[in-house]
Assembly symmetry: C2
Homo-oligomer: 194 residues x 2
DNA sequence: ACGGGGAGTAGACACCGTCTACGCCATCCT
DNA sequence: AGGATGGCGTAGACGGTGTCTACTCCCCGT
């Protein structure tokens, strides 16, 4: 079984990932994916009952990609939890900026409950890594670690979203997202040690 | 000129707003809007060169709605800046939850540069209100007010987004967004006064 | 050897956004 | 006054989409 014949299902997902990375969300039509995978437009239906089920599988691939990127970045960084958290955040923002189409697809709420494994559950390991680091780095105060981690994730996500949307630099005069990221980490975790 | 004949352009936008509020983003097709407005599918083209231009006008209506809601909430609240900021934030989150389709439409990045008035500029007044309040309430530290305001907006937006997406409660165990909101305000603005 | 069933094809259907040709009607000019 | 003009809305065509339904083919088990 060589590369060009890796199973139609896998080829469909791979073609979809490639498409959304290269041309964005609007390019990921069922028929175009089928064309790129070299099958007829009816073939995907054998593996994915509906278009959104296929999109969901593609988005899951995106989560997997992001998770391994985060893990790799963290392996290469200083083991200090605060540093690791910074690395995680930086990777998250970079991923969103570099693969905007995929990032948008991953968080489309109409894909949430599709596919065998639900997309919601797919994002949990990534959040668990963040929550674990937050639990290590936080100063003891009254807000539970899970709430703190959720708020921090939301802040990260909001920066990624609004930055891609393009209004934040116009409104704030900030020209790169690093200042926002640092302010966010300082706000939620206390001022940086050094 | 009675109500039922308020100009085709206005009727189209109104029908679109109604549709996206009632049935969500996927329902706002050009032809369906035209149908609801009682005109042929070709009529919109006279006023909006393309579908996204019409969507952009609908999204602008959403920003106007949100802005007036925020202003009304703030008029009714205690004039203390921190309280006003809380009211603004609460209104933002409630709006996103109650009108998810509209909220999604408003922040679709492919609508950003459409229409006579760009969507980006339409959001500026809203942000200006937030930035102004932040400037009043912040404790003097090293992070510029604009950065602080941007980070806070991003945090708000991220909560709205991730909450609608549905993973946050699952991952954090938090069952309503109020804890996240309070944690966010405390993190960025310092602990609440009382 | 042969029947059966899964896999992929091909066409139909309704819907979509865009484009173009065409009527209609008010308005303006001579 | 009457005819040309131009904007507004209609209607149909076109290529594209997702879904559904025959239909074919080939591999596998009995």
């Amino acid at each position: 079984m060589n590369d060009g014949d890796a199973g139609v299902r896998a080829r469909l997902v791979a073609a979809g990932v490639d498409l959304v990375l290269r041309e964005g969300q609007s390019a990921v039509s069922l028929r175009e994916i089928a064309r790129r995978a070299g099958v007829s437009h009816g073939a995907p239906r054998r593996y994915f009952p509906t278009h959104v089920d296929l999109l969901s599988a593609i988005a899951r691939e995106g989560f997997a990609d992001l998770t391994t990127r985060v893990q790799k970045t963290m392996r290469d960084a200083d083991p200090d939890p605060r540093t690791q958290l910074t690395a995680l955040a930086r990777t998250y923002l970079d991923f969103a900026a570099a693969h905007r189409g995929m990032f948008e697809l991953m968080f489309r709420h109409d894909l949430l409950d599709s596919g065998r494994l639900r997309l919601r559950e797919t994002s949990l390991p990534l959040f668990a890594v963040l929550a674990d680091l937050v639990a290590q780095v936080r100063r003891p105060d009254d807000v539970p670690a899970s709430v703190l981690a959720g708020a921090l994730w939301a802040n990260l996500h909001g920066i990624a979203q609004l930055w891609a949307w393009g209004s934040l630099p116009l409104a704030t005069g900030v020209t790169d997202d690093d200042a926002l990221l640092r302010a966010t980490l300082d706000a939620h975790l206390g001022p940086a040690p050094h």
